[in-house]
Symmetry: C2
Subunit: 106 residues, 2 copies
DNA sequence: TTCGTTAATCGTCGATAAACGATATAACTG
DNA sequence: CAGTTATATCGTTTATCGACGATTAACGAA
């Protein structure tokens, strides 16, 4: 079942705090973002570049060359299969769309 | 941000095809399931046991001793944080219904 | 063209993960 | 108690990951 392989690849791309931080950063940054990522995550430039490469290889982000920089952007559709899988494991309680989220401030 | 660490741990637990297969198997199996998992995934018993240990450590499954066997069961709530994170990256298409704005903490 | 900036790639290292066989543990059976 | 079955753990080997510094490539500006 190659689908599992793909899902595992997606999960693997998320399986690192630095990459999650990068994704949050991209989410919080409306426009283009370049080397600021390096500052924000506090790792070496080459390390950040590697994380970006991994995210890009998984299709989770896309990089567009913009002059001397590269403009990264989220590509959230890529994660849809993983989201579906997780949802499929989740019990169907009363998951009507709008459930008043009680208990969230854990 | 320790939350990223936790999310990364969850994703890491999912980042292997054999573990995804195990989760699917648990999902498809209503009652208790024991060593049949070994047959289904086609790996050595010790390897499967290790995968089960990892899933259990992540809280994604739980194992209850049932006589000579161990009864494994999904524990889908454990994945909720990861599902939320992925959802937060997903563009809000027409989600008029559930505004999942989890109030920007931090 | 030369220089400075930005990002990607290379080479290397230690750490972690994955897989296996062998062995140990626990519980039921007789 | 001895034997069988079902899991877990141990120890080892191999592969992959994560991080870094150094180098290279691409681009804009002077």
């Amino acid at each position: 079942m190659p689908q599992n392989d793909h899902l595992a690849d997606l999960a693997k791309a998320l399986a690192h705090p630095a990459r999650l931080r990068i994704l949050r950063l991209l989410l919080a940054t409306p426009g283009c973002i370049g080397g600021d990522i390096v500052d924000a995550v506090g790792l070496a430039q080459s390390t950040v570049s590697e994380h970006l490469r991994i995210l890009k290889a998984a299709g989770i982000i896309s990089g567009e060359i913009d002059g001397p920089r590269v403009c990264y952007a989220l590509n959230p559709d890529a994660l849809a299969p993983l989201a579906e899988f997780i949802a499929s494991l989740t019990p169907p309680p009363g998951d009507a769309c709008c459930v008043p989220t009680r208990k969230e401030t854990t």
